[in-house]
């Protein structure tokens, strides 16, 4: 597996990776990166076998450098939010918005956003960055990791493609995108 694959992960994917206990194997094969907000979003998991809470040791991994942390600037976040309407912005989680902001600013070339959330996947297509996203299923396949249990549907490639298609349609129809300034002015005049 080429070490060049860099995956920028949202909180959902982090939690899933820890739940399936495949983080170490994955990080040995892929460069894992998290937006700074995800560090606070994914702090613990509930162990399903024992029904106990377990701390996600992201801090240790970050200290050792096995997972990298990146942060978007306020300007980068604003540039992202300016591309969508208010209702769409509210659909997204802060951590994945930070990841999208970094990708939009071309601050992380060759990184792929690993997400299982419809709005984030749609946003990639709406920003014409569909190829900058990856499902957990595809990420694990690329890293040649097979799990003993099947993934939940929203972590599959099928769900990712479905949402990406929706995003492509939204891009054409303008659904969820911020109205151009000229249209806003016209509406104001009415």
């Amino acid at each position: 597996v080429p070490q060049t694959l860099c995956a920028l992960l949202d909180a959902n994917i982090i939690i899933e990776i820890y739940t399936h206990k495949c983080r170490e194997l994955l990080q040995s094969r892929v460069t894992l990166v998290i937006p700074s907000i995800v560090r606070t979003e994914a702090r613990l998991i509930v162990d399903e076998e024992t029904n106990t809470r377990r701390q996600i040791v992201l801090d240790d991994a970050l200290l050792k450098g096995s997972i990298k942390e990146v942060a978007a600037t306020t300007g980068q976040m604003q540039a992202l939010y300016a591309r969508f309407d208010r209702v769409f912005v509210e659909r997204m989680q802060a951590g994945e918005a930070e990841a999208l902001a970094l990708l939009l600013a071309s601050a992380l070339p060759d990184h792929l956003l690993g997400t299982a959330d419809g709005p984030a996947i749609r946003a990639l297509s709406m920003l014409d960055m569909r190829d900058s996203g990856i499902s957990l299923e595809k990420l694990l396949n690329t890293a040649s990791i097979a799990l003993p249990r099947p993934l939940r549907r929203r972590f599959t490639e099928a769900f990712f493609r479905e949402q990406a298609e929706r995003g492509s349609t939204d891009r054409i129809t303008g659904t969820g995108l911020a109205k151009p300034a000229s249209q806003k002015r016209k509406r104001g005049k009415k």
């Binding site: 509210e90 989680q93 802060a94 299982a116 959330d117 984030a120 939940r152």
Partner: protein, 255 residues
């Protein structure tokens, strides 16, 4: 926010919490496209200038307009939520209080009385109550059990039901008061108006949020935030929602 009875402490924080919940509820509605255009009738004139007969007539018109069926109290909340996008929250800690985000309402004694007449006439429509009473009356008397059962059937308190019988001229005020002073009569009270579940989130709020999640309309973390929980805490519940949904598209062959 217009308060009926302001809590003694923490009004500002309660108001902020209430408005934030309304904002979240509206967002969830917009995520799944469930915003209704219908709006409730607005009373333009100051209610203080109106009579009790006016309140009663308004209740009768509203009852018909909302199409509340034979037992209005059972369908009122659902109708307001589903048809008019009214956001209703039950907060056990604000017992006896009520607050409204929209509409200019000043709670005064006179308005309380008008509101009582309105509520009584709408939740206990004259024709329906008369029909039920007449079926149970034998030689001008009716049992306590029948009255208690009817109050329960109409999903109102016994007090409310008894006072409605006064306005419908089945009981005199004196007899009504005597009856309500009987502790044995009130002991079988079932309808306290307090919901058994302690969740502050209305059923519709939860249903729409679940729909938004299953359709991929909202990030998982946002679902957790909308329920004041963390993402890991929600995981098991979300899996349950997904499992329910997995079977939802199965087809059944009909004869």
């Amino acid at each position: 926010v217009a308060w009926r009875n302001k809590p003694e402490q923490g009004t500002e924080s309660e108001q902020a919490r209430f408005l934030e919940l309304c904002r979240r509820y509206h967002l969830i509605e917009s995520w799944v496209g469930e915003i209704q255009d219908e709006s409730l009738p607005i009373i333009r004139r100051q209610p203080l200038s109106h009579s009790f007969e006016w309140a009663q007539a308004l209740a009768e018109r509203t009852f018909k307009q909302l199409n509340l069926g034979d037992y209005p109290a059972l369908s009122l909340e659902k109708t307001l939520e589903e048809e008019y996008s009214v956001k209703i929250f039950h907060w056990p800690e604000l017992k006896g209080s009520a607050a409204s985000e929209s509409g200019l309402c000043i709670w005064e004694e006179r308005i309380e009385k008008l509101a009582d007449v309105f509520a009584s006439a709408m939740l206990l429509p004259a024709d329906l109550v008369k029909k039920e009473i007449d079926q149970r009356v034998r030689a001008h008397v009716i049992t306590w059990r029948d009255l208690a059962e009817l109050a329960e059937t109409f999903a109102v308190s016994k007090q409310a039901f008894v006072w409605r019988l006064v306005t419908l001229k089945y009981l005199t005020q004196i007899n009504a008061q005597k009856l309500l002073n009987e502790s044995a009569f009130l002991q079988t009270e079932h309808n306290t108006g307090i919901r058994k579940d302690a969740s502050i989130f209305p059923e519709r709020y939860l249903r729409l949020l679940k729909t938004a999640y299953l359709r991929g309309e909202v990030a998982t973390g946002r679902v957790a935030e909308m329920l004041n929980r963390t993402l890991p805490e929600m995981r098991r519940e979300l899996i349950q929602w997904e499992e329910e949904e997995a079977g939802a598209t199965n087809l059944v062959r009909l004869a």
